[in-house]
Every structure is written in structure tokens, then in C-alpha cells.
């Protein structure tokens, strides 16, 4: 039988606020245990929550970015369960009336575009952390993270492969950083995905029983976990087994998923509206104010790059993979003033390769956009060839200075003087009689070899177009 996998994601995005969602405690990562756990974070008797304005703003930004309905009135609810990292014995979340309603996000998998429907996004507070290995048989509880604002983003079960799920997660990861609501740091847990996986016979419109893979904090693990889980579910069904609804964890060491310790009872969270908080009202005015602060969104930017800079959709998409890259590209184009495609090629080519090689972010690039533009100008005005430009670029990367200075110092200026070029060509023709003969006998390839020889003789400095032209004339 042919099987189809059905995947939906729930992503916990830590919002980039200075203080917690319901108190004035700091959200800075990595502090000493419980030094950022104020009376509200540790749920002392009598304390009360007050909602952080910035967290609400982040939710509105996200809603606008995915074209979602933003609820004019949403409600905070208590999700009741006991866990040592949950100090109040309930998590303040949103249940029936979330702040962000239906929206969508378009992803690109290979050549195909696909729209993933977003069911909802709601504000809630993060829990603390259990630290093991404190004392034998004991766990230590650190509540620094308790109360950090989260936006939980839930999709419809719209993805049909691990690749699609990863593409969605990456796109979402890009977007939340783009609009500045999340730092995207997956190692620190700022962006965590729960993936719901089920399988069904291809063609069926009924959903299979799903298992939820919890807390994936890397795209690689996500891919592996979904692939393993899918295989496991198919094998189980083909062996005549049944899938039981379960929460599973992925073990990166074995590449396998395993069921969490089975709960002694089904979860019964006893949601009800939090009486300590009032309904959250978001007016059109609030929305417009946030909208005015919103950066241009990647999708709009792609469209603009295609129409204004005449870039291909692929190039535009690549250049908008992060706001920093897009900004770098645009700054380069502006300083350069020439053909945007040339700038695009350089940003996606040499710049990206170097960054990749050195595992650097574009913000740490040793070659600034202005410096890159300086180099591009010399390519455009034929001072240097593309090939020489790469040499200059490497020197710039190594901190040897501006393009012009390097070209000057190293004498890399392209030879465009037709007399000089003719002299080089004559020399090459004289030294390669056999090749000339071959060409004349109809071997087109010999022509390219001769061009190569000329370039080599000029140490790459001759203008290739000119060499071509003169050589043709001479052989013609």
C-alpha cells in the first residue's frame, strides 16, 4: 500500500521582550538559577499578573505578517496541571479566544510553492526548567524562564513530507526574526517546534491517529525525527499494529523517537478564563500603529526585487532569506548604482560562500556593502575582470583595504589598450601555430584555447571581450 504522511506544527516562539509577560522580571538568557525569578515568577501567595504591552505588540506584528485575523477581543485562560517547573499549578495561556486567528504562510519546496494554513497564534507564558543531577534522586528547579512570553503558532495539518515541514519551520523562523519578535536562537530554546505526525493510505481523506514529537530545536533533528516517526508508523500499521495517540521525544543520539512516560491519566487541563486578567482589546488604531512600525515583509520585498531590480524569483527569494542579507544587498545596490544583477551575484556568490566557510553572519562580514559596491564599480567600468575581482575580493576580505587601493597596489588594472592587446595576441599566435592550424581546419574549440592563452599571457588582466574581438579579426 502507498502511504501518505500528514504533518502539523505547533511552534513556541519566545518573544523578544525585556521583561516577562506578566511581571517586571528580566528575560535575559543564561543568568544564575532563580536570580530572575521575582515574586510573580515563583508564584508567591497574593501576587497577580499584569500583561506586557510589548508582548501584545509582537502578537499583532505576527498576525499582520501572516495576513491573519487579529481578534478585537481575546481572553486569557488558565491551563491547569501540576509540574514542578510550573509554579502556579497553571499556565496562563489563551484557549477559546486567541489573539491571532486564521492566517497563512507560503513556502517553497523545490520548484513548487505551497500555502500552509495557520490555525491560530496565542500568547502564553513559558515554564521554568528542571535541572538534573543536583542531588541523587532529586531534580533542581530554575524558574528564570518561567513567565517568558511565548507566541504559540499552530498550523493546520497541511504538510505532506518532512521536507515541507522543515521548509515551513525555516520560513517561520526567518519571518519571526524578520519582524523582530524573536531572536531565533534555537540552541537557547527561543524557537521550539512540536510536530504532529500521522500516516494514512494515500487517497484517504481521513486523518490517522497522530503522535506528537515534542520540543524539536533544530531543523536537522526535525527532518530526522519526522522521517523516523513516519517509517515507524507505517511499519507498525503494515505489521497489523495500531497507532496510539502519544507524545514522543526524539533522541538525536539514536535517531529514534520514543514515547514519554505514559501519563497516569489523560490530561484534563480544566481551562477557564483567568479571573486575574481582563479581556485583551485590540482596536483598529492599535493595529495601524503597529503596522506603521512593521518592516517590509519578505514576500513584498521579493516582488519588489523582481520588478525593480529585474531579478529572478529565485534570486529575490535567496536575497530575502534574512533581513540582514536583504539590507546588505540593497545597500550594495544603492552604493554601486549599476546593474543590480551583478550585486545579487556577488552577494549570493562570493560573499555567501565566504560567510559560509567561516560560519559568519552577514552582520559580521569584513567586507561592508559600501566596500563591495566599490569593487563592483571597477568591474562595471572594465577596470578589472570578474576573475581578477575575485582576487581583489579575497584581499578585501583579508582586510587589505578598499578595492581601488588593492588594484593599484597589486597592479591588477585590466589591460584595455588595443595596441597592448594586439601585441599579446601576436605573441600567442606566433607561439601556437598548431592551434591556429586546427582552428582554420574548423576546430572551434581551438579558438577558446587561444583566448585562454592570451588571458594567461596577460596574467588575466586583458579585457576578455577585447581579446575575443581582436583575435577573431586576426584569424578571420
Amino acid at each position: 500500500m502507498e502511504w501518505e504522511v500528514v504533518i502539523g506544527l505547533e511552534t513556541h516562539t519566545q518573544l523578544r521582550t525585556k521583561s516577562k509577560i506578566f511581571s517586571g522580571a528580566s528575560t535575559t538568557y543564561g543568568a544564575e538559577p532563580n536570580t530572575q525569578a521575582c515574586e510573580v515568577s515563583i508564584a508567591l501567595p497574593g501576587v497577580l499578573p499584569v500583561l506586557n504591552k510589548e508582548a501584545v505588540k509582537c502578537a499583532i506584528k505576527f498576525g499582520l505578517a501572516v495576513n491573519a485575523e487579529i481578534a478585537p477581543r481575546s481572553v486569557f485562560a488558565r491551563k491547569n496541571y501540576f509540574y514542578p517547573d510550573l509554579p502556579k499549578g497553571y499556565q496562563i495561556s489563551q484557549y477559546e479566544l486567541p489573539v491571532v486567528g486564521k492566517g497563512s504562510l507560503t513556502i517553497q519546496v523545490g520548484d513548487t510553492e505551497k500555502t500552509i494554513r495557520i490555525t491560530r497564534a496565542h500568547l502564553e507564558e513559558d515554564a521554568g526548567k528542571s535541572v538534573h543531577g543536583a542531588q541523587e534522586g532529586m531534580s533542581g528547579i530554575d524558574l528564570n524562564r518561567a513567565g517568558t512570553p511565548l507566541l504559540e503558532i499552530v498550523t493546520e495539518p497541511d504538510m505532506r513530507s518532512a521536507a515541507e515541514a522543515v521548509a515551513y519551520a525555516k520560513k517561520l523562523h526567518e519571518l519571526v526574526q524578520w519582524i523582530g519578535i524573536c531572536d531565533g536562537n534555537m540552541q537557547e530554546g527561543s524557537f521550539r517546534c512540536d510536530v504532529n505526525v500521522s500516516v494514512r493510505p494515500k487517497g484517504s481523506d481521513k486523518l490517522g491517529t497522530r503522535r506528537e514529537i515534542k520540543n524539536l530545536n533544530s531543523f536537522k533533528f526535525m527532518q530526522q525525527a519526522i522521517e523516523y516517526e513516519t517509517r515507524w508508523q507505517i511499519e507498525t500499521l503494515e505489521d497489523g499494529g495500531k497507532i496510539e495517540q502519544a507524545t514522543v521525544l526524539f533522541n538525536p543520539d539514536t535517531g529514534e523517537t520514543r514515547s514519554m512516560r505514559s501519563k497516569e491519566e489523560a490530561n484534563d487541563y480544566r481551562y477557564f478564563p483567568d479571573p486575574d486578567l481582563l479581556p485583551l482589546e485590540i482596536t483598529e488604531v492599535d493595529k495601524s500603529a503597529v503596522e506603521a512600525e512593521m518592516p517590509e515583509l519578505p514576500q513584498a520585498m521579493v516582488a519588489r526585487f523582481v520588478s525593480d531590480y529585474k531579478l529572478s524569483a529565485y534570486d529575490a527569494d535567496t536575497l530575502t532569506s534574512s533581513r540582514a542579507i536583504a539590507d546588505y544587498f540593497e545597500a550594495t545596490v544603492k552604493a554601486f548604482g549599476g546593474e543590480p544583477k551583478l550585486a545579487a551575484n556577488w552577494v549570493m556568490g562570493s560573499v555567501a560562500a565566504k560567510l559560509n566557510e567561516e560560519d559568519k553572519d552577514i552582520s559580521a562580514s569584513p567586507v561592508s556593502s559600501t566596500q563591495l559596491a566599490g569593487l563592483l564599480k571597477r568591474i562595471a567600468d572594465n577596470t578589472i575582470s570578474n576573475k581578477i575581482a575575485r582576487e581583489v575580493f579575497d584581499a578585501m576580505w583579508a582586510g587589505e583595504g578598499e578595492a581601488d587601493a588593492i588594484i593599484e597596489k597589486k597592479g591588477l588594472k585590466q589591460v584595455t589598450d588595443s595596441g597592448a592587446i594586439e601585441a599579446i595576441i601576436d605573441e600567442v599566435l606566433a607561439a601556437n601555430v598548431a592551434m591556429v592550424e586546427e582552428f582554420k581546419a574548423g576546430k572551434e574549440k581551438a579558438f577558446n584555447a587561444l583566448v585562454g592563452q592570451c588571458m594567461k599571457a596577460s596574467k588575466g588582466k586583458a579585457n576578455p571581450a577585447q581579446v575575443n574581438e581582436v583575435l577573431k579579426k586576426k584569424l578571420g
Binding site: 544564575e32 515563583i42 504591552k53 514542578p84 543536583a134 533542581g140 514519554m260 481582563l278
Partner: protein
């Protein structure tokens, strides 16, 4: 709606309150009385009535995003049952 001791024990477990069989039995009687009282509500037709969560029709006030709290760990952990190296200690948490 009638409650059984099994129900009482299930609810007690959900609320994380240890309850013996005899306690469950005694509790059952009292809870049944209270639920009988509560049952009076079912006679009222509430179709179309908006539930009331708060007595005033006001909306949530928002706080500026400012860090106002300082480290009070020492003070707060003075009243904790068990701590070590700034962590609250509990019997091992198993996932």
C-alpha cells in the same frame, strides 16, 4: 448526575490530594449534598445569555516593557522547603 467513590478518587488525584478509601466515602456524601445544591441551576433557561466573568466591563490594562525586578533569590529561598545552589529541590522529575 451521581458521583461514585471512584469519581471522588479520580478528582482528588487530579487535584493532587491524597485520599484514603474511608475519606473518599465520607467526602462522597458531602460532595453529593453540595452537587445537589448546585443542580438547582439546571432549572434555569440561560439560552443566549452572555457568561459573566467580571463585574465591570473593562479591558486589560497593559504594562510597559520595563525590567523592574531585581534578584531576591536569597530572600525568597529562605522560606523554601529545600534548595541547593539556588535551585529548588524536588524528587526527580521523570519525562
Amino acid at each position: 448526575m451521581s458521583l461514585s467513590t471512584t469519581d471522588v478518587k479520580r478528582i482528588a488525584h487530579l487535584a493532587r490530594i491524597e485520599i484514603s478509601d474511608t475519606e473518599a466515602e465520607a467526602t462522597l456524601q458531602k460532595l453529593t449534598g453540595i452537587l445537589g445544591l448546585i443542580e438547582q441551576m439546571q432549572a434555569v433557561d440561560t439560552t443566549g445569555i452572555t457568561p459573566m466573568s467580571h463585574s465591570q466591563d473593562v479591558t486589560q490594562r497593559l504594562r510597559e516593557d520595563v525590567v523592574t525586578k531585581t534578584n531576591q533569590r536569597e530572600e525568597f529561598q529562605k522560606i523554601a522547603p529545600a534548595t541547593e545552589n539556588g535551585l529548588y529541590l524536588v524528587p526527580k522529575v521523570i519525562e
